[in-house]
Chain length 319, copies 2
DNA sequence: TTGTACGCGTTATCAA
DNA sequence: TTGATAACGCGTACAA
């Protein structure tokens, strides 16, 4: 294993110069810098993370809190994790998962928290390291999320453009910001077009949406499009409609929200507001690293733009 | 932050004694041990992972290679990760994900590899740290996996017991050990009962299984049970049968394999061979940590027993 | 059984 | 702009 000292000898400088080349390159003459770089390359130098962590009083560890019951949101997370991990890796950080299974102790340099409900606010505030949330909040905490309002606006506008007569919103009955934002997007678009609104809410389980369709089939009007707050609900709506052999997308349209996995296995595939989950992971990590670097200074919020992924559950050209 | 030295002072011993209490407790008198423990508790001592890593020439990092395309297997992995992470946490290890997105460099103490195909064998062998695979292999590499053969035996026996006349296997057309083992379980059970066997194979996509049913509907015999090598295929079979309003489970039975997510969203819910994914994660990590501890010594294999999760896609009492 | 001295690889401080 | 030194917290080797 090559160390700083090895590189220093090879380049005929002190090890401090090598260290500076890495951490404060502006303090070193270009000439020296070049020969140090050369030495590092020749010796295939890799900094020792542990030594660095020790002297900086850091752990090089980020904890990821997953506060929601994992079974309900699973398909989602691997992409997030991949994004986070990619970004953390760049600065030699590694990851510890904290779930319901191991609410453990042990140091870290910062936290990424997903699935926060407002009841978590209190203990979150007591964390002694920088925190970045994945998911909207209205508590002045730094976060990254999809632009939820924009997402449902895109969905609603698309439904309108495709000529559906009624456009109804199938929401999740939680009192959380992401849901308010999604409903707001729907309401704004509808009001802009002076269309009447209708919102139904269920817990985020496909069978509840399916049962709603089953029990209300007689009263449903054709040429309705359901804009849903999640793919789970959209999936349930689609299954419900399929039971009655409803014509999708001709007589009923369905648009989901998430765009991870479930939209793909549905038949027909769901048109859905696709969240840029991987990029959100990258951004979360990026924001947290910056925050750590700046001694916990607030980093504000970051809202990424979703894309509307067109599937077979909506008409895709105007009548 | 309390250090070894702080604890030592409080307990009126040298810091080496404290260190020994942690790493070689058998070398310390009970009396001293007690007072050291007391001091650690009072001062809320937490070992400094970086310092430990530095002196031991370790990184306290485990890399998790996910070799398959993440989109195809997603729902699966979070449970695995949770299990791995829980076990690693106990010994202050943290995790780095290596996926198609970041095939990065950087040291670690060991590897967990999932989704290995036989073509990966060569470069895997060149890894310079202990490796444990998640998933069967026949290359003498240490691994943890579900007992795949037992799983399909359980499924097949159950189908027989429920009185289905034909029992056919829907396999994945990959030449990998886990698939051979699953097919073997089916074949063994069928032969034990002197029943005729039938195997179909598809890539692991639900729509392929669905299309199979669609195109062969006319020739299908009622009272057939499909034992599938994955929930994806089972899900496709079920969708295909549903198109024709086939009566499930009365006229057709379906049994999947995996038991993560997809079986839950299917209607009716799939009877499936449920893999103990979380526990497999724990075992993988456990095995790897032991292997690291024993200087890379081979740890053999570990096969955990799956459970048959009964859903609505099979009859659940004998005719 | 317990303690002392030293080194692990890095960075900050201060002096040159 | 560069270098010498000390320090981070812990574990090994050796001495007591």
């Amino acid at each position: 294993m090559t160390t700083l000292t090895d590189v220093a000898k090879r380049a005929n400088v002190s090890k401090m110069t090598v260290s500076r080349v890495i951490n404060h390159p502006e303090q070193v003459r270009d000439e020296l810098k070049q020969s140090v770089f050369a030495a590092m390359r020749e010796l295939n130098y890799r900094p020792n993370v542990a030594a660095k962590a020790l002297v900086n009083n850091r752990t090089q560890i980020i904890k990821l809190f997953i506060l929601e019951d994992m079974d309900t949101t699973e398909p989602y997370y691997m992409n997030l994790l991949a994004g986070i991990s990619k970004e953390l890796g760049k600065e030699q950080y590694s990851l510890q998962l904290v779930t319901e299974h191991n609410f453990d102790i042990g140091g870290c340099d910062g936290y990424i928290v997903t699935g926060m409900r407002h009841t978590d606010f209190e203990w979150l505030q007591r964390l002694e390291r920088p925190v970045v949330l994945f998911g909207e909040n209205r508590l002045e905490l730094d976060y990254c999320d999809t632009n939820n309002t924009l997402g449902t606006q895109m969905a609603t506008e698309y439904a309108i453009k495709q000529g559906y007569d009624q456009i109804e919103f199938i929401g999740i009955n939680v009192k959380e910001p992401f849901e308010y934002s999604r409903e707001a997007g729907y309401l704004m678009s509808m009001q802009n077009h002076q269309l009447p609104t209708m919102i139904h809410r269920f817990s985020n389980h496909s069978h509840l949406a399916m049962e709603y369709i089953e029990s209300h089939w007689a009263t449903l009007k054709t040429n309705t499009c359901y804009v849903c707050a999640s793919d789970r609900l959209a999936f349930g709506i689609e299954k419900g409609l399929t039971i009655f052999n409803a014509r999708i997308p001709q007589d009923f349209g369905i648009i989901g929200f998430d765009g991870v996995f479930l939209n793909q296995v549905a038949t027909p595939k769901l048109t859905t507001v696709q969240q840029p989950i991987f990029e959100l992971g990258v951004q979360c990590a990026r924001m947290l690293l910056t925050k750590i670097d700046k001694d916990g200074q607030s980093q504000g919020i970051e809202q990424l733009t979703p894309t509307l992924s067109i599937g077979g559950s909506t008409r895709n050209d105007q009548l």
